[in-house]
């Protein structure tokens, strides 16, 4: 997960969250700073993946933290604090995007990335990545969110499904459909993959000879 706290022990991190929540509920407002410090990065990154607008991502992440502050009592410890927080964030981001959509280009109009071969390989790569990321935002809503959350949670289907409060089976089906749409929209990505692999092999041959 991008920007997640670098704790080696997830259980330990969960305990710290639970302790901070208990302190906040006991009246220690400053204890919330610990929660903000640990989760600001993941929340901003998650929002960024939903809207691709840095300013808006920070505004949304701030809104999530304020709502979390107001609704801390509703977290009963049945799930890990981060699961509760991400589910809240997904809800806020989803509703905000319904109000003001993030994308203006349709899925069909998303630009096809060019094949490698250009001398400006780095620019090519950047252009290609940008096209695919924009296309994710242009996916139909029911498939977009599973794709966004799947990659945000570093391809952990369980975590992503919990964030959406959705059964894993349903989540997997939607994710598969979303990825299938992307694959069909960008058939040349496969060629690019093959070409890249070929280029890698040829450069390896050059080095070895």
């Amino acid at each position: 997960m991008l920007g997640a706290p670098q704790s080696s022990n997830a259980a330990e991190a969960a305990d710290i969250d639970a302790a901070d929540v208990a302190r906040v509920l006991a009246g220690d407002v400053e204890a919330f700073a610990g929660i903000v410090g640990r989760w600001q990065g993941p929340l901003v990154n998650m929002a960024w993946r939903y809207c691709r607008d840095r300013g808006r991502a920070e505004e949304l992440a701030q809104e999530v933290l304020i709502r979390a502050w107001r609704g801390l009592k509703s977290w009963r410890g049945e799930s890990v604090f981060s699961t509760w927080l991400f589910a809240l964030a997904a809800n806020v981001y989803r509703n905000d995007l319904k109000r003001v959509p993030a994308v203006t280009v349709s899925f069909e109009d998303a630009a096809e990335p060019s094949l490698p071969g250009s001398q400006l390989a780095a620019l090519d790569e950047r252009d290609r990545s940008g096209s695919v990321r924009r296309a994710v935002l242009a996916l139909p809503r029911r498939y977009r969110e599973p794709v966004v959350l799947f990659y945000f949670h570093e391809m952990d289907i369980g975590a992503a499904a919990r964030t959406m409060r959705m059964p894993e089976g349903t989540f997997k089906a939607r994710l598969a459909r979303g990825r299938e749409l992307l694959r069909k929209r960008f058939p040349r990505l496969r060629e690019w993959s093959t070409a890249s692999a070929g280029a890698d092999f040829s450069s390896a041959d050059e080095v070895s000879s």
Partner: protein
């Protein structure tokens, strides 16, 4: 195992397996994004808002106790109106001549009055529903 669910699960598994094999580039692009670092004042800004909220006086609770008699009175008045209207309609229906001898002229005013009453009762309800739709079902409505 539920036999009806099995095909759906199997379909999802196959779909995942299929796309996983053909999507290494998409996976690499979407999973390999650089982390965005929140701006330096982000945490401070959040905490400022939190402190503001914490120091703000508690919201004034809605005065249900004061408003309850009024609500009961309004419901009673509405019920009485409906009862009266039903009675008027029934008496009008009874006083109508049998079919084939429609003398609507004499009963028309009573029916018209009942219609106006119904419209008067319906209009606020429609206005309320419309306002609720426009505002989006907020707690105030």
């Amino acid at each position: 195992m539920n036999r009806r669910l099995q095909p759906k699960k199997e379909l999802a598994r196959q779909a995942m397996a299929g796309t996983a094999a053909v999507d290494p580039v998409v996976d690499r692009i979407l999973a390999g994004e650089d982390a965005l670092i929140p701006s330096s004042g982000f945490a401070a800004s959040v905490m400022e808002r939190v402190r503001d909220e914490a120091s703000a006086p508690a919201p004034i609770p809605f005065p249900w106790k004061r408003i309850l008699p009024g609500v009961i009175l309004a419901i009673a008045a509405l019920g009485w109106c409906v009862f009266e209207m039903a009675q008027t309609l029934l008496s009008t229906a009874k006083s109508l001549p049998p079919a084939g001898h429609l003398g609507l002229g004499g009963n028309l005013p009573a029916i018209t009055t009942a219609g106006w009453i119904a419209l008067a009762l319906l209009a606020p309800l429609l206005a309320w529903l419309f306002a609720r739709r426009v505002v989006g079902g907020s707690a105030l409505l």
